[in-house]
């Protein structure tokens, strides 16, 4: 065994900084909180979707070979940060992750059946992904499933494409998210098997990891917004003659929320870079980013509500809106325990490394 070292550089390039600035201004102008509220209960805004399409956001993270602009997962994560920050009611992340998977299939010569690639590329047909299909057969709740006409999933060890001609009805949920049941046995759903075997399992694993990373990035955006809202309130609001941010009971919670945001952000960037550049290295990082962002967004938005006192639980407070979005955006993939189950691959790898180390080294045991 020899020592290996890795770089720890989280800095964005100038181009990536410019992309973030462009996205921040686009979503703050086109998706203010009033747009988010008006889009409920479905959680989808046609006009904003049109803006997203016109601004070319759907092709940034698709490869040139299938008609994209050649960007990758990191650009998608940067979009996720800004989408989450605005709680923007568009299925961009699910759509692009699904299109990246379909693009890989196209690149390896797989026919997509009746699916119209150009229509997906333009965002006329919204595509989504069924993360739960990794573990469960039959009907399942699909993120963005109430606006998508095509859903990529994994059934019976094969990658399948489910399509329907009409929208599936939304399954009402506490965050106003376009969740819907998709049932392969429903006559309205056509199921096409695209790829089976080991190659399919690997491609699905990569797709599922990309979805976890993209989704985690949107949660980082929610953490950023809810943290800013809570800090602004705490330095403004007075109680007992002082600003409530002067109480350590409040300020320490605000610091913890900030720690949650920054660690989740760094883990998402790191997972994105490594998944893109070295997909074989530590594949559990995607689940780690997703698990951390999920537990962080659930507890931190709850703290953000609490800092507001009674105002926090009113529906008119912006902070309560982010609290609602937090659960429906984070738990649609099956929850933290599923992520922890996936992190199990790291246990097995480390156990192997330890066994090899013990073969070559003595250790005092008392």
């Amino acid at each position: 065994m020899t020592t290996t070292l890795r770089r720890n550089d989280y800095a964005l390039s100038d181009e990536q900084d410019q992309l973030v600035a462009m996205l921040r201004s686009l979503f703050s102008e086109q998706s203010p909180i009033s747009v988010v509220r008006d889009a409920e209960p479905l959680g989808f805004d046609e006009k904003l979707w049109a803006t997203v399409r016109e601004n070319g956001l759907l092709t940034i993270s698709l490869p040139d070979s299938v008609g994209g602009d050649g960007g990758g997962l990191i650009e998608l994560v940067l979009m996720g940060f800004e989408i989450g920050r605005a709680a923007a009611p568009v299925p961009l992340l699910d759509h692009v992750v699904a299109m990246r998977a379909l693009g890989r299939l196209v690149d390896s010569g797989v026919e997509l059946g009746s699916f119209n690639w150009e229509s997906g590329l333009a965002g006329e047909t919204i595509v989504s992904i069924a993360p739960i299909s990794t573990w469960e057969l039959g009907a399942e709740l699909v993120p963005s499933g109430a606006v998508a006409r095509a859903v990529i999933g994994f059934k019976d060890d094969a990658i399948v494409l489910m399509t329907r001609d009409s929208r599936a009805p939304q399954a009402p949920n506490d965050g106003g998210s376009p969740l819907a049941w998709w049932d392969p046995s429903d006559p309205a759903v056509q199921v096409t098997t695209l790829l089976a075997g080991e190659q399919a399992a690997q491609l699905w694993d990569l797709t599922h990891r990309e979805w976890r990373i993209a989704t985690a990035s949107s949660l980082v955006g929610i953490l950023a917004s809810s943290g800013e809202i809570a800090r602004a309130y705490a330095v403004e609001r007075q109680a007992f003659g002082v600003r409530i941010a002067q109480f350590q009971a409040i300020s320490h919670d605000l610091v913890d929320m900030h720690m949650d945001e920054l660690t989740s952000r760094n883990m998402t960037l790191k997972a994105a870079w490594l998944t893109e550049n070295e997909p074989e290295f530590r594949p559990e990082l995607a689940s780690m980013a997703m698990a951390q962002a999920t537990r962080a967004v659930l507890r931190s938005t709850a703290k953000a509500v609490h800092v507001h006192g009674g105002m926090g639980i009113t529906l008119e407070a912006d902070v309560s809106l982010f609290y609602r979005k937090a659960s429906s955006w984070s738990l649609v993939g099956g929850g933290v325990r599923r992520d922890l189950q996936d992190i199990g691959r790291a246990i097995d790898r480390r156990a192997g490394e330890r066994a090899r180390w013990h073969e070559n080294n003595a250790i005092v045991k008392g």
């Binding site: 290996t4 070292l5 890795r6 550049n277 780690m288 008392g366």
Partner: protein, 387 residues
């Protein structure tokens, strides 16, 4: 952004092999040595390292180092971790202070040994009546011609019983003027009137109360101007807190204490994995396949990854609290064996979990409590000072 593996040069590979050979011949790994952030290297290892300029390898050869870069330093750190050797010589905090503020005499006579690591130091900040509130120090230094006479008492002088010098904060004016009447000294621990009394702490470690009774030292031992001790002291404190540690290289982003605690945490997980791999359940299968064990281990591994991603000053409170929470988690996972002492038959990786569960609470206290860190972080977020 870049998380790629560093391709080591032929020289770096040779360096890695040389130090690996040195460590594997002069030291046998020991589960008991997991407080990598805190414990001092064994003298045999420290002196062997000092001879080669590897205690502070970043210094030039002329200065007692080896003129090595970030990569070589990280190789040393990684190998010390692999071989369960604590890597705390404490001097790295003091060197910049002595270089900047030390008297000509100190720089000529003491600094060289501190740089090589042949001389060791400890910190004399806290007192019985003040901990995090350092500027309330009462230990007094009074000038008498060319010498200073020191009287007082310091707490938590870890390594005070086996260090050559203490970096001492003393009061040199009216106490009402708080941080404006403090002065720093480097006091020889063998000076008459210095006494270190042991205080035994959770986890079996030793720290000390140190007493200073009419300790008389030359003005040569003063560090920096009289009554400027506050700014002199902040030089190493900033290093210890990991403030401003921004890197684009291989150094972890979570600051020196955050990284140290994270390495200890890593050893805890390794010990838990070693234990699970060595045990079988009633069904005859390895406990590594037990879903309850896997859940606990996965949660611990997740927390560890969070620690590595907590930048700068976030690193310490994050890692200290994760260490304590996960020592509890893993003791529970391996209950009841998880509470057996070090070296006891049937204990977890020779007691690594029980031992760390005892040690962990201290990591959230020494070097500044996690509350002090949160106050600092709150100010950086633009929040007002506490009420």
């Amino acid at each position: 952004m870049d998380f790629s593996q560093v391709e080591l040069t032929a020289e770096q590979q040779a360096f890695e092999k040389e130090i690996r050979d040195l460590l594997s011949t002069s030291w046998t790994p020991n589960y008991a040595h997991i407080a990598l952030d805190h414990d001092r290297s064994p003298d045999s290892v420290r002196l062997a390292m000092a001879k080669r300029g590897w205690v502070h390898p970043e210094l030039s050869e002329g200065e007692g180092g080896a003129g090595l870069g970030e990569i070589e330093q990280e190789i040393i750190t990684a190998l010390f971790e692999e071989f369960y050797i604590a890597n705390n010589a404490n001097n790295s905090l003091l060197i910049p202070t002595l270089e900047q503020h030390g008297s000509a005499w100190l720089k000529e006579n003491i600094l060289p040994g501190i740089r090589t690591g042949e001389l060791t130091t400890c910190l004399g900040y806290s007192e019985p009546d003040n901990g995090s509130d350092i500027a309330a120090a009462k230990t007094r230094a009074v000038q008498d011609g060319d010498v200073w006479v020191i009287n007082g008492q310091k707490m938590w002088t870890t390594w005070g019983n086996e260090s050559d010098y203490v970096f001492l904060l003393a009061r040199t004016g009216p106490i009402e003027e708080k941080h404006r009447t403090l002065t720093m000294f480097l006091v020889p621990m063998d000076a008459p009137g210095v006494e270190a009394t042991p205080v035994w702490i959770l986890g079996g470690g030793r720290t000390n109360v140190t007493f200073y009774s009419d300790v008389t030292i030359s003005d040569n031992y003063r560090i920096g101007p009289v009554n400027e001790g506050w700014s002199v002291m902040s030089t190493p404190l900033a290093t210890e807190h990991g403030a401003g540690v921004v890197t684009e290289g291989v150094v972890p982003i979570n600051g020196s204490m955050g990284a140290g605690f994270s390495r200890t945490f890593e050893k805890l997980i390794d010990g838990a994995i070693d234990w699970a791999a060595s045990r079988k359940g009633a069904d005859g299968r390895s406990r590594l396949e037990d879903p309850l064990v896997r859940l606990a281990l996965a949660e611990a591994m997740l927390d560890l990854e969070v620690c590595w991603n907590a930048e700068g000053e976030l690193g310490k409170p994050m890692a200290a609290e994760a260490l304590a929470a996960n020592a509890d988690r893993l003791a529970d996972m391996a209950a009841p064996e998880g509470i057996l002492d070090f070296g006891v038959d049937g204990s977890i990786a020779a007691g690594i979990i029980a031992s760390e569960r005892q040690h962990a609470p201290g990591s959230a206290i020494y070097g500044g409590t996690t509350e002090i860190y949160r106050n600092n972080l709150a100010r950086r977020l633009g929040l007002p000072r506490p009420y």
